[in-house]
């Protein structure tokens, strides 16, 4: 499973909609059940799943699949360093 698929699966589980309804362009604006609390749950799940710590100033940006993947990539590569 690619990272994108993993993230989409995780978002699907948390916001409660089918994963085929989520793609790289999905965001909190396009998915009604993706509210601020769900966003926190997504961030916590990503931190636990990938064993990383996402900087607080990046968290507000994590409201779309695209930006989540971008931040995840940079956080993971930083953790590897």
């Amino acid at each position: 499973m690619t990272r994108e698929e993993e993230v989409i699966q995780l978002i699907s589980d948390i916001v409660g909609i089918a994963k085929d309804e989520i793609d790289i362009h999905s965001s909190a604006d396009s998915i009604e059940s993706w509210d601020s609390i769900k966003q926190i749950e997504i961030i916590s799940a990503l931190e636990e799943g990938y064993e990383i710590e996402i900087p607080m100033d990046q968290m507000p940006r994590m409201s779309s699949v695209q930006t989540i993947l971008e931040i995840l990539d940079s956080s993971c590569s930083e953790a590897e360093r």
Binding site: S36, I37, I40, D57, M59
Partner: protein, 587 residues
């Protein structure tokens, strides 16, 4: 951040006051529990056949008798009222004391952060989002105050809670343990809420910083926005940022409020269960049940209060972390502060093999710069934008520290000098005027607080501003916010007059005429002309016209000295300076 680190870094800044407050809280807890104990004989008197029905009543009665005092209902009332008064008085005292303590500690936190910020190099300010800084020193400071208050409330409520539980255990340990078991139910949902509350608090802080940053940018670029009719676009973007902040802040505060309200029915469910178990199952009398119930009814909201304060702590810790980060970032770039007091400029300033890179970059913006400026000389540093002129001036002013090379004044490295004494030798006039919304007199007195009106008028005369100010409201002329009530040329001459008032031996003019019209530029140049020979002048400008009268011109390009010499010498050498001078119509 761990709460114990926060406590060590803040509350223990004033250990005596901190421990004094804890002692006061202990005394308050004792008085509170005693006020409950003294209620037992009164309840026994009216509900039972004998006033010595419960263990508590018997204990109080025997204590009174050991002092030779005959117990009576009137005495019980008196003791009860006495403890209530004592409890209220101590509670009031401890709350006032906590309030004082909170603002004392907050004052230290603010002072520590601002001190670090204002003693950092100039690059700290250029690297920083100014909105973040403004947000930190307005909203976040308030949140840190709440954080300190929440931690102190946790201490206060914990002390009271322990006394109440201790008392309940003394009266009926089995009933109390059952109650504690039931109350633990309250903790489970709270634990789940803590992490989310912390995260949402952090997001609320981050988005507030973004909103404030953008708002500040809009205000500072208001002229651009209005002149291009970009108000709607700016408002849309501002609104987007506000909505983002609103979303997280509402969630964060809803979670806290909801938590409090959801607790209320749970508390009542627990109390009703305890009454039933106490009377129907265990078979306690009404007095014991009532006192245990009273202590639990008082201690459960205390426990809830502790949880709510804890949630508040979790929510506010990111605010403290923001302040700490700014403090840490500023602390990582301190001004180089020596201890040698330098009170005069005798011979020369020598710049030797100077190199400079911006923070986080390896590209040199100044490459191996060396030159001398002798006392009384006029040095013009010229060159295109981005050539490193301003950076060079920042280094000469010692508000930036070079990674390599040195700057010496009369043979002394400026990094070894007391910065205050070194800056007294320099008058600085920049392209941006730092004027305060007050009178000409007050603006001038920022440079020299004890200056007389005569000295101020003399400085204004040197700066070619005396006549215009005399025709206005004299030294009482109001300059407006940022000096917008007077013209650009007047603002610049007022800044020059302010520098002259301090009578420093060195004058640094940082693009001082760049944004002025020809007439204003002429007036400033005329003022500077009066100073040539009396002061050592270092002027930087991208306009070559300002360098004609200079003893020496330093032509910078891409961080290197391309040419160095007088105007006539550089023109004669037919180099890049000559080409540029011809392009600007000077030769």
């Amino acid at each position: 951040m761990k709460i114990r680190h926060f406590i060590r870094e803040t509350l223990l800044l004033k250990p005596r006051v901190f421990w004094g407050n804890l002692a006061l809280l202990t005394l308050t807890g004792f008085a509170e529990s005693m006020s409950v104990v003294s209620l037992a004989p009164i309840l026994d008197f009216y509900t039972a056949e004998s006033d010595a029905n419960t263990g508590v009543s018997r204990l109080l009665r025997s204590q009174l008798e050991s002092f030779g005092i005959q117990p009576s209902i009137e005495l019980y009332f008196l003791i009860f009222i006495g403890f209530i008064v004592m409890k209220s008085g101590l509670l009031f005292l401890s709350q006032v004391s906590i309030l004082h303590f909170k603002y004392d500690v907050l004052g230290v936190v603010v002072k520590r952060a601002t001190n670090q910020v204002f003693h950092s190099q100039w690059s700290f300010f250029t690297n920083l989002q100014q909105g973040l800084l403004m947000n930190a020193f307005s909203r976040e400071i308030g949140a840190v105050g709440d954080l300190i208050g929440s931690v102190l409330r946790i201490f206060a409520n914990s002390f009271r809670f322990m006394f109440y539980i201790g008392l309940a255990m003394y009266i009926s340990w089995d009933l109390t343990l059952i109650a504690i078991g039931l109350a633990a139910v309250l903790l489970l949902p709270a634990k789940l809420i803590f992490k989310k509350s912390y995260r949402l608090g952090g997001l609320s802080t981050a988005t507030a910083g973004n909103f404030q940053e953008f708002l500040m940018q809009c205000v500072s670029n208001a002229k651009f926005i209005i002149s291009h009719s970009l108000q709607n676009s700016a408002m849309d973007k501002l609104n987007e940022k506000y909505k983002e902040h609103r979303k997280y802040t509402i969630s964060s505060q809803t979670m806290d409020q909801g938590h409090i309200l959801l607790n209320e029915p749970l508390v009542w469910a627990i109390l009703i269960s305890i009454i039933y178990i106490s009377i129907e199952v265990i078979g306690y009398k009404i007095t014991e049940t009532a006192i245990v119930l009273y202590t639990l009814k008082t201690s459960l909201p205390l426990a809830t209060g502790i949880l709510v304060s804890w949630t508040g702590v979790k929510r506010s810790v990111p605010s403290y972390e923001t302040i700490k980060k700014i403090e840490g970032d500023a602390g990582a770039m301190p001004l180089s502060v020596g201890s040698v007091n330098k009170t005069s400029f005798v011979n020369k300033i020598s710049v030797e093999s100077l190199k400079y890179c911006y923070s986080g970059s390896s590209e040199e913006v100044l490459k191996n710069i060396s030159f001398d400026i002798f006392k009384g000389q006029y040095l013009a540093i010229v060159g295109p934008s981005g050539s490193g002129k301003s950076t060079l001036i920042d280094l000469v002013m010692n508000i930036q520290t070079p990674p390599q090379g040195s700057i010496k004044i009369d043979g002394m490295d400026i990094r070894d000098l007391d910065l205050g004494s070194y800056h007294k030798l320099i008058g600085y006039v920049s392209q941006e005027n730092f004027l305060f919304n007050s009178s000409v007199r007050e603006n001038m007195q920022w440079a020299k607080s004890d200056s007389t009106d005569t000295e101020i008028w003399d400085a204004l005369k040197m700066a070619n501003l005396k006549d215009e100010m005399q025709n206005a409201d004299g030294l009482n002329t109001k300059v407006g916010t940022g000096g917008f009530k007077i013209s650009g040329g007047q603002r610049q001459r007022l800044s020059l007059a302010r520098a002259i008032l301090r009578d420093p031996p060195i004058l640094v003019l940082d693009e001082a005429t760049s944004s002025l019209d020809s007439k204003s530029e002429f007036e400033i140049k005329d003022s500077i002309g009066k100073l040539i020979g009396n002061k050592t002048i270092i002027s930087i400008s991208h306009r070559l016209s300002s360098s004609i009268d200079a003893d020496q011109i330093l032509f910078l390009k891409e961080g290197r000295i391309v040419e160095l010499g007088s105007f006539a010498e550089l023109v004669e050498s037919r180099g890049e300076f000559f080409d540029l001078a011809r392009l600007q119509g000077l030769v």
